[in-house]
Amino acid sequence: MNLPNYEFLSAPLWLVTILHLVTLMLHFAAMNFLFGGLIIVIHAGLRKRWDDPTLLKFVRLFPAAMAATVTLGVAPLLFLQMTYPRPVYAAAIVSGWFWLGVIGAVIVAYYALYWSALRGERTGKVCLSGLLLALAGVVYVSFVYSSVFSMAERPALIQQLYAQDQSGRVLNPATGDYLLRWLHMVLGAVTVGGFFVGMLGRNEPVAYKTGKAYFVGGMALASVAGIAYLMSLQPILARLMQTRASWVLLVAILLSLGSLHFFFKKNFCASGTMLLVSMLGMVYTRHIVRLLRLGDQFRPDAYRIAPQWGPFALFLVCFVIMLALVAYMLRLFFGAKRAA
């Protein structure tokens, strides 16, 4: 039967890859704000290190940060599924219940954040239990994502796990593949959270100092975890170092250090930009690791390219309108605040 063949990419692979990496970076920025911010606020709250108004300021922002994390997470997942559907869905199916549980966990975390924010506004106090619940949800999601996406790099492992259990109750047992990566990501989130705490509290010495401590400490620990993760990539490490990713990673590390430098100078614009670009470098390195691990088991470049330029152009137009409208609305909102 001569039916249309769906095994194609509707844009060149390089273009889809760029879209995937850029949107993933944006998702990580929002997620790190939320995840790192939650850890810092809970830690500070437990130790009574901050006065309540500073905590509340952050807590009020969490629901919006969750909205941004979810919204910005949709696009990279879409592009990932477009390019790597077979390994990604296969891994998700083997961990089906955990994968589906992500939705429940995010809903619980999201409502817990709203609850904390609304209660904070009403009582003027931080609702620690709500934040802990939200953190538990976020930790669950991050862990399941790490498990599933690292499993997706090893189709042979998926086949082996599926042969043993078809009920979707299996997490990736190859923890060596992703525990250090997950830890690096969590510590990276603390780093970014520290940056935002320092930036938001730039006029409050205690808050800035706290943010600085988390920024510096988080980056140091994330670096250790990152290096340990790189070392754990032994079978492909040599090949990774022969790719462009090694240079990109080097630049990303330098940019991270540069962002520290500007943070100390309280130039948050430069510091934040460097942090964001360094995150893009990490995301790119992560992408190359995936390609190396998959090897010949799944090659996205084997897809036939059949561009749909018309719909793509419409997407670009809508994307520009989106940027313009979001900027316009934010200007209306924050401009009004200044006027008030």
């Binding site: 039967m1 039916l3 249309p4 769906y6 095994e7 509707s10 844009a11 879209l19 629901p63 919006a64 909205a67 941004a68 919204t71 910005l72 949709v74 696009a75 997942l77 879409l78 599924q81 477009m82 559907p85 077979r86 869905y89 296969a90 998700a92 199916i93 089906g96 994968w99 589906l100 992500v102 939705i103 995010v106 809903i107 999201y110 409502y111 709203y114 998926i158 086949q159 599926y162 042969a163 078809q166 009920s167 979707g168 749909q308 018309g310 719909p311 419409l314 997407f315 809508c318 309108i321 989106m322 409208l325 979001v326 609305m329 934010l330 209306l332 909102f333 009004a336 605040k337 008030a340």
Partner: protein
């Protein structure tokens, strides 16, 4: 068959319905509610209606907590669940419509940003700025429906896309416009129903009366648009689908009838709410919400079930079998295409052929249908699955594979003779034997009912017909059961024949 199979005890249809129905119920409110908020705010600002503005601020909190969290997340949930339940169809949809989804994502970002700022902006923004953000919200929310509607309707009526594979051909498919109008009507109706739930909690009085009258107007207006567009939608579905549905698909037709009754119930309840507007009890508003949810559930059930045997009409069957690969399946069999294997071929074949709709003894159970039968009969049923009631996908594998599936099922059913099972359970053997052996195709009272042909036939004639029924064609299997059951079945066929005579 490029994917593993998620073997869960819950039926796939049920799992999908739980997430999808809840999502559409909230997401359509997210659109209609946005329109309601901004239109009502605009009017209230013009007239300086302060109580109404206070009500809208309260409603917007409920709106934000419902749509931003639950609506948005269950939407992502649908995406997650379709990838688990039918990854092949999801892969096909993503490859064909990735830019559609990407465009929808841009509207989603605008929508979420606008909803947050609208909710937080009641005290902070100027009236003009607040209204501007409200209108932006509604436009983005409705445009996201404009996009996703193209993909949803494509799945039922891909039209000429099956010939040319063009993005826009599939997008603007035969049911696109009626579905868009109908869903817009639903959005307006749900705006009224949700807002009524908030208004019902107000104390009895003139203001409450005004609120309820306003909202019931929205509800009724939405309902009228929905009802008219639903008729248009039905007419736009190709006759090949609707005719078959009316002949052999009781589930979508029952669901369609239910939507009509439930729509009538919503209309009556809205009229009642209008009549007791001053003191509308929360329970009436609650019942209205539940009726609205039931209406949407039935409509989605109708739409999904109508697609059978396909998940994408003419392209991919409900069990993930691809129409384009028919020749390959017939030549090489299913097993050769299955990438992720359990180690047992019978299990693999059952999972990929049957399990997405049937469990052995749970949802759409096979055990009650096959208890007391034999392997030959089950094999024949597997091979002729497309001829059975319910419009099932055809089995395209090899005869040996059909036999392996039959062995898998046979090993899990009650293998005692049907006569023995019926004696133990105290049921008549004849009707039961008919239901098991014949009723899968020849449902009594339908166009496939053959009772007339039994009239005046002797027991010997009917027995001979049963023994040689394969010769009648159309995928009929020969009778392969024990003699006691055969005798009871013959006697029952004679009874049916006599009833026709009368």
């Amino acid at each position: 068959m490029n994917y593993p199979f998620w073997d869960v005890p819950i039926g796939y249809g049920l799992l999908m319905a739980v997430i999808a129905v809840v999502h559409v119920f909230v997401s359509h409110f997210a659109i209609g509610g946005g329109l309601f908020l901004v239109v009502t705010e605009q009017r209230a600002r013009k007239t300086g209606d302060q109580p109404m503005l206070e009500f809208l601020a309260k409603l917007s909190k409920f709106f934000a907590l419902t749509t931003l969290v639950f609506g948005a997340l269950t939407g992502v949930g649908i995406w997650f669940i379709i990838g688990l339940l039918n990854p092949t169809a999801t892969e096909a949809l993503i490859h064909n419509y990735v830019w559609g989804w990407a465009i929808e994502w841009t509207f989603f970002v605008i929508e979420i940003t606008a909803a947050l700022l609208y909710y937080y902006g009641w005290q902070r923004l100027t009236p003009a700025a607040h209204l501007a953000i409200g209108w932006i919200y509604f436009a983005a929310a409705w445009l996201s429906l404009v996009i996703i509607n193209g993909i949803i309707t494509f799945m039922l009526t891909p039209g000429q896309w099956l010939v040319n594979g063009e993005f826009w051909t599939g997008f603007f498919n035969p049911t696109y416009w009626p579905s868009l109008v109908m869903r817009t009507g639903v959005c307006i109706m749900l705006a009224g129903l949700y807002a009524l739930l908030v208004a019902a909690r107000y104390e009895a009085g003139d203001f409450k009366k005004r609120l309820v009258r306003e909202m019931t107007t929205w509800g009724l207006l939405g309902l009228v648009i929905t009802a008219a567009a639903q008729a248009w939608y039905w007419g736009a579905i190709p006759a090949t689908i609707t005719t078959k549905a009316m002949q052999i698909m009781p589930i979508p037709m029952q669901a369609l009838r239910s939507t009509v009754w439930l729509a009538a119930a919503i209309a009556v309840l809205l009229v009642i709410a209008r009549a007791v507007a001053r003191r509308l009890p929360v329970v009436v508003a609650g019942v209205l919400m539940l009726t609205g949810l039931a209406w949407f559930g039935e409509f989605e059930m109708f739409r999904e079930a109508l697609r059978k045997p396909y998940v994408i009409t003419g392209y991919i069957y409900g069990n993930g079998v691809e129409v384009a690969l028919t020749d390959r399946y017939k030549k090489e069999g299913y097993a050769a295409q299955i990438v992720y294997k359990t180690g047992d071929e019978g299990t693999d074949l059952f999972l990929h052929s049957c399990r997405s709709c049937h469990t052995i003894d749970g949802y759409h159970a096979l055990k009650p249908a096959f208890d007391g039968t034999d392997r030959k009969f089950i094999t024949a049923i597997v091979r002729g699955a497309h001829l059975l009631k319910g419009n099932m996908p055809p089995f395209l594998g090899t005869p040996a594979e059909a036999d392996k599936i039959a062995s898998y099922i046979y090993a899990r059913i009650d293998q005692r003779p049907l006569a023995e099972i019926c004696r133990a359970e105290g049921i008549d053997l004849g009707p039961r034997a008919y239901a098991v052996r014949c009723g899968c195709c020849h449902m009594l009272g339908t166009s496939h009912d053959k009772s007339k042909s039994f009239a005046g036939q002797s027991a010997d004639d009917l027995g001979t017909m049963l023994d040689n029924s394969a010769a009648l064609g159309d995928g009929m299997p020969d009778y392969t059961g024990p003699t006691e059951e055969r005798a009871a079945l013959v006697a029952y066929l004679q009874t049916l024949g006599k009833q026709v005579k009368k």
